[in-house]
Amino acid sequence: MSEQQVKEELVISEFEGDEVSNESQFLSFTLANETYGVKILAVEEIRVWVTPTILPNSPSYIKGVINLRGMIVPVMDLRLRFGVGEASYTATTVVIILQTEKNNHRRQMGIVVDSVADVISIDPEQLEPAPDMRSYETGQFVENIVNIDARVMSVLNTDRLLELRL
C-alpha cells in the first residue's frame, strides 16, 4: 500500500468520523478565563472582528450590525452580555456567527468572544445538567456542563441565546 493510499484512507475515515459524531461535537471558546461551548451545528462560521454599524438605542451588548454576504446580521458581545472580562477589540478578537431556526425562519447573529479554543467531541452521556444559576446573567443560557480535563465547559443553548427580547 503506497503512502498516498494510506493518506487517502485516513482522510476518508476522518471524514466519516465527522459525519457520525456531528451531533455531539461542540465548538469551545473562552470569555476571560471561562470556557463555553456551543453545538457545532449551530455555528455558521467564524470571522475576525470588523467594526459594525452602530444600532442606535440598542442594549450596550449589541455592538451593531455587519454585512454577512448581503445579509444584515447583528453582533452581540457575549462578554458584555454575560458581564465577564473586558470588552476590548483587537485584531485577534473573533466573531462566531450562530444560527437558529424557528418557525421555518432562520436567524443569524454574531457573538464576540475572546478566543475560539477547539472543536471537541463529547459523549452525550458526559453532559451533566447545569446547576441552578438563574440568579446569574448567564444562568438562563447554560444548558449543560461538561468536564474537559481539569476545566468545566458550560454548554450554551443557542436558541435561547439568540432570542432577543427587546
Binding site: 444600532l55 442606535p56 438605542n57 450590525v65 448581503g70 444584515i72
Partner: protein, 720 residues
C-alpha cells in the same frame, strides 16, 4: 415510465385561470349587435383549451360542462344561432361556474355536479329552442329535468328471452335477481313488456312471452352485466346500451303506463309477474322519493357550497402560493447578462493573475464593464417583479358591469395605461383599495340615468381608470363624471360625526381641498349613512391607510356636478429607494429622497429655543422644529450645531429640520430588512449595504419625527 401529472396540474390551473380571464374580457367586449367573429373565435379557443386540459387531468365535471358551453359557442361561431345579450350573460355565469369548479378541484374537493345543472339546462335551451316549449310545459315537474341533467349514463338492457328458454332450465327471474344484486335497490329500475303475451286460449304455459327493460346505474361494470346473461346468450334477444338516463326514465314510465299488471299463465311467469308488479310500484315510488329528496338536497348543497367556498377563500389567503409568471424575454435578458458578467469576471481574473502597472487601463476598463453589467443585471432582476397593471385592472370591467346592473345605472368604464408596470407586492396590495374606489365611483359618484338626463349629461356615466409614470412614481387615477363632492354636505357630516379635524373651525376658513380630504378621516362615514350623503367615505380611511403603508400618497380632486378624481401615487418598487447619504459623527445614515425638501447650512443666529427646550430654526418665514440625529441616536463625535447642515424633510405636511454633519451622495439603495435577524428599531425602516460593503441604516422619517416630537428631550424611548 410514470409521469407525475401533479406537477403539471398547477400549470393547468394557471392556464385555465388565464383562459377564463381571456373569456371574460372578450365576453365583456362583445357587442351583441355587431359580433366580431374573431372575438367569438377567441372565446371558443379559450373554452376549448379549458375543456382539453380538464379532460387530460381528469377533471371530468369541468370538461363536460365546458363542452356544453363550447357547443353553443360553436353554433354561434357557425352562425347557426344568433348571439343575443342573454347568451353573454349565460356565458359569464358559465365562466364563473368553471372558475368555481376549478377552485374546488384545486382544493381537491368535488363540487356537486348538480350545481351546474341549471346552467347546462339554460345552455341546452339556447342550443335547441324547441326544447324550451317542452320544458316550460313540463314546468311543474321541473325536477324531472334535474334527473335528466344528472345525466350520468345508464345501462339500458332490453332482455327478451326466446319462448323456448325455459326448456333449457333457465329461469329469467334468477337472472333478474342477479342483476338486482349488482346495484343498490333504488338504483335498479325494471319494467316488463307484455306485448307478446298471446290471448289466453293460445297461451302455452311452458313458453316465455315476457320481455324486460332494465335500467342499471353506470357504475355497474358491463362485464358483470354480461356475466348474468352468460347462460342464456343464445336463447334470448339481448341488447345492452349505455344511454342517458332521461331517455330511459321516459321509456320506463312509458312502459309503466302501457303495462298492465300481467295476469299471466306460465307456471314460472306467475311469480315473475307479481315480482314485476312489485318492482314497478317500487320504481315509481322510488322515483318520487328521489325527486323530492333531490329538490330538498339541492338547497342544502347550495348552502354547503357557499360555506365551503368561504372556507376555501380563507384558506386560499393563507396558502396563496406566491408564484409569478415572467415574460420569457425578461429571463433571456437575464441569462445574457449573466453570460456577460461571467466573461467580465474571467477577464478580470486573468488580469489579476499576473498584474503589472501597464495593465492598469485594462483593469479600469474591466471594472467599468463590471459596473455596467451589475447595473443592468440589477435592473433586469427588479424587472422580473414588475407586472403590467392590467393584472389589477382586468377585473374591473366585470365589476363595473355587475355594479351597473345592481345600481341600475348606465356606466362606461374606460381603462388606459394598463401596460404600466408595477411591483408585484405593490400590485397585490393595491387591488382592494382600487376595487373600493371604483365601487364608490359607480355607487355614489355617478347619478342615475334619469338624473343625468335632467342635468343635461350623457345618460351613460363614465368611470375611468388610468395609470402612468410620473418621476419615480406610478400614478393611478380613478375618476368619474358624476356629481362630485359637495363641501357643505361633507362639512355638515364631519360636524355631526364630531371629527377632530373640524373642531373649532368654520367652513369658510377651511380650504376646499382640506374639506375634501375629510373623506379619508377615520370614522367619517359608515355603510348605513352612505345613501343620505352625496359624497363617498365608505372605508376611505382604510384605503388611505393601505396606500400610506405602501409608501404612497392619495389625494382627491373634485368639482361639484362635474365629477371626482382620486389620485394614488405609489413608489415604483418597495425593494429599492433613492436615498440621500448623510454623515452623523462616524455613522452614515440614509434619508429617503422623497422626504427631503432641501438642505441648508445652519446659521446659529436663526436658532430659537422656545418652551421646554425645543429648538426652532427660522427658515425664511417658517419656524421648523430641529431634530439632532446625533442626540437622538446618541452618537458621539458629531459636529457642533453651528457647523452642521440642516436637512429639511416634510412629514404629513409638517416641515422638520434634521441636523446632520455632512451630506454625501444621493444613490439608489436596496432595502434590507433588520427584522429578519434582529428586531425592529424605532426610527429606522431598514438597512442597506453601501458600496464599500459596510452597513448603513435607512431612516424612517415619519416614524422618527412622530416619535421625537411626541417625546421631549429628543430621545427615542429605549428599553435598556
Amino acid at each position: 415510465m410514470t409521469l407525475d401529472m401533479q406537477q403539471f396540474r398547477q400549470v393547468f390551473m394557471d392556464e385555465c385561470a388565464e383562459n377564463l380571464d381571456i373569456m371574460e374580457q372578450e365576453l365583456l367586449a362583445l357587442n351583441p349587435d355587431s359580433v366580431d367573429p374573431e372575438t367569438i373565435n377567441t372565446i371558443f379557443r379559450a373554452a376549448h383549451s379549458i375543456k382539453g386540459g380538464a379532460a387530460t387531468f381528469d377533471f371530468n365535471t369541468i370538461a363536460s360542462f365546458t363542452h356544453v358551453v363550447e357547443t353553443l359557442l360553436d353554433e354561434i361561431r357557425n352562425n347557426n344561432i344568433v348571439l343575443c345579450a342573454e347568451h353573454v350573460d349565460l356565458f359569464l355565469k358559465s365562466e364563473d361556474h368553471i372558475r368555481n369548479l376549478l377552485e374546488a378541484a384545486q382544493q381537491g374537493e368535488d363540487l356537486d355536479p348538480k350545481l351546474g345543472d341549471d346552467l347546462i339546462k339554460q345552455l341546452e335551451l339556447c342550443l335547441d329552442p324547441d326544447a324550451e316549449q317542452l320544458i316550460t310545459k313540463q314546468e311543474p315537474v321541473e325536477s324531472s329535468a334535474d334527473i335528466e341533467v344528472e345525466a350520468e349514463q345508464e345501462w339500458h338492457i332490453s332482455f327478451a328471452p326466446h319462448p323456448e328458454m325455459l326448456f333449457s332450465g333457465n329461469e329469467p327471474i334468477r337472472i333478474l335477481r342477479e342483476l338486482q344484486e349488482l346495484c343498490s335497490e333504488d338504483e335498479y329500475h325494471i319494467s316488463v313488456i307484455t306485448e307478446k303475451v298471446p290471448d289466453y286460449d293460445e297461451l302455452d304455459v311452458e313458453k316465455c312471452f315476457l320481455a324486460w327493460h332494465i335500467l342499471l346505474p353506470h357504475s355497474v361494470e358491463l362485464a358483470d352485466i354480461k356475466e348474468c346473461f352468460d347462460w342464456v346468450e343464445d336463447e334470448c334477444d339481448l341488447k345492452i346500451e349505455a344511454l342517458n338516463r332521461m331517455l330511459d326514465a321516459e321509456q320506463v314510465s312509458n312502459h309503466c303506463l302501457k303495462t298492465d299488471i300481467p295476469v299471466k299463465s306460465e307456471a314460472s311467469s306467475e311469480e315473475q309477474s307479481s315480482e314485476v308488479a312489485e318492482n314497478l310500484e317500487q320504481t315509481t315510488k322510488d322515483e318520487k322519493t328521489v325527486l323530492a329528496s333531490q329538490a330538498a338536497s339541492a338547497k342544502e348543497v347550495a348552502n354547503f357550497i357557499q360555506k365551503s367556498k368561504q372556507n376555501t377563500a380563507q384558506s386560499q389567503i393563507s396558502t396563496a402560493n406566491s408564484s409569478i409568471r415572467v415574460d420569457t424575454q425578461k429571463i433571456d435578458t437575464l441569462i445574457n447578462l449573466v453570460g456577460e458578467l461571467v466573461i467580465t469576471q474571467s477577464m478580470l481574473n486573468q488580469l489579476g493573475s499576473d498584474f503589472t502597472a501597464e495593465k492598469l487601463p485594462r483593469l479600469r476598463q474591466g471594472l467599468d464593464q463590471l459596473l455596467s453589467n451589475t447595473k443592468e443585471l440589477q435592473e433586469s432582476v427588479l424587472a422580473i417583479r414588475m407586472l403590467p397593471i392590467s393584472f389589477a385592472f382586468n377585473r374591473f370591467p366585470r365589476l363595473v358591469r355587475d355594479l351597473a346592473t345592481k345600481t341600475e345605472k348606465k356606466v362606461e368604464l374606460r381603462v388606459s395605461g394598463e401596460n404600466t408596470e408595477l411591483d408585484k407586492t405593490v400590485m397585490e396590495q393595491i387591488v382592494d383599495p382600487l376595487v373600493h374606489l371604483v365601487r364608490n365611483s359607480v355607487d355614489h359618484g355617478l347619478e342615475s340615468p334619469e338624473e343625468r338626463i335632467a342635468l343635461g349629461k350623457e345618460e351613460t356615466g363614465l368611470v375611468s381608470l388610468n395609470a402612468y409614470h410620473l418621476g419615480g412614481n406610478i400614478i393611478i387615477e380613478v375618476s368619474d363624471d358624476g356629481k362630485g363632492l359637495n363641501k357643505e354636505v361633507l362639512w355638515q357630516k364631519a360636524i355631526e360625526k364630531n371629527l377632530p379635524e373640524v373642531k373649532g373651525k368654520y367652513i369658510d376658513d377651511v380650504d376646499e381641498q382640506q374639506i375634501f380630504e375629510l373623506i379619508f378621516a377615520a370614522g367619517f362615514s359608515t355603510a348605513q349613512e352612505v345613501s343620505d350623503l352625496s359624497g363617498r367615505g365608505v372605508g376611505m380611511d382604510v384605503v388611505k391607510r393601505n396606500i400610506t403603508n405602501l409608501g404612497g400618497i392619495i389625494d382627491v380632486v373634485s368639482k361639484l356636478g362635474q365629477g371626482t378624481t382620486i389620485r394614488i401615487s405609489l413608489p415604483l418598487t418597495l425593494a429599492i429607494l433613492d436615498g440621500q447619504l448623510v454623515k452623523v459623527g462616524t455613522e452614515i445614515f440614509i434619508i429617503p429622497l422623497t422626504a427631503v425638501l432641501e438642505s441648508v447650512e445652519v446659521d446659529s443666529n436663526k436658532i430659537n429655543i422656545v418652551s421646554s427646550g425645543t429648538e426652532l430654526y427660522r427658515l425664511r418665514q417658517e419656524n421648523l422644529p430641529i431634530i439632532s440625529l446625533a442626540k437622538t441616536f446618541m452618537i458621539e463625535g458629531a459636529n457642533p450645531t453651528n457647523e452642521s447642515l440642516l436637512c429639511v424633510v416634510e412629514v404629513m405636511g409638517q416641515k422638520v429640520g434634521l441636523l446632520v454633519d455632512e451630506l454625501y451622495s444621493q444613490q439608489q439603495v436596496v432595502i434590507k430588512s433588520l427584522e429578519s435577524n434582529y428586531v425592529k428599531i424605532d426610527g429606522f425602516s431598514g438597512a442597506t449595504i453601501l458600496g464599500d460593503g459596510s452597513v448603513s441604516l435607512i431612516l424612517d422619517v415619519p416614524g422618527l419625527v412622530g416619535h421625537v416630537l411626541k417625546n421631549s428631550h429628543n430621545q427615542l424611548n429605549t428599553s435598556h
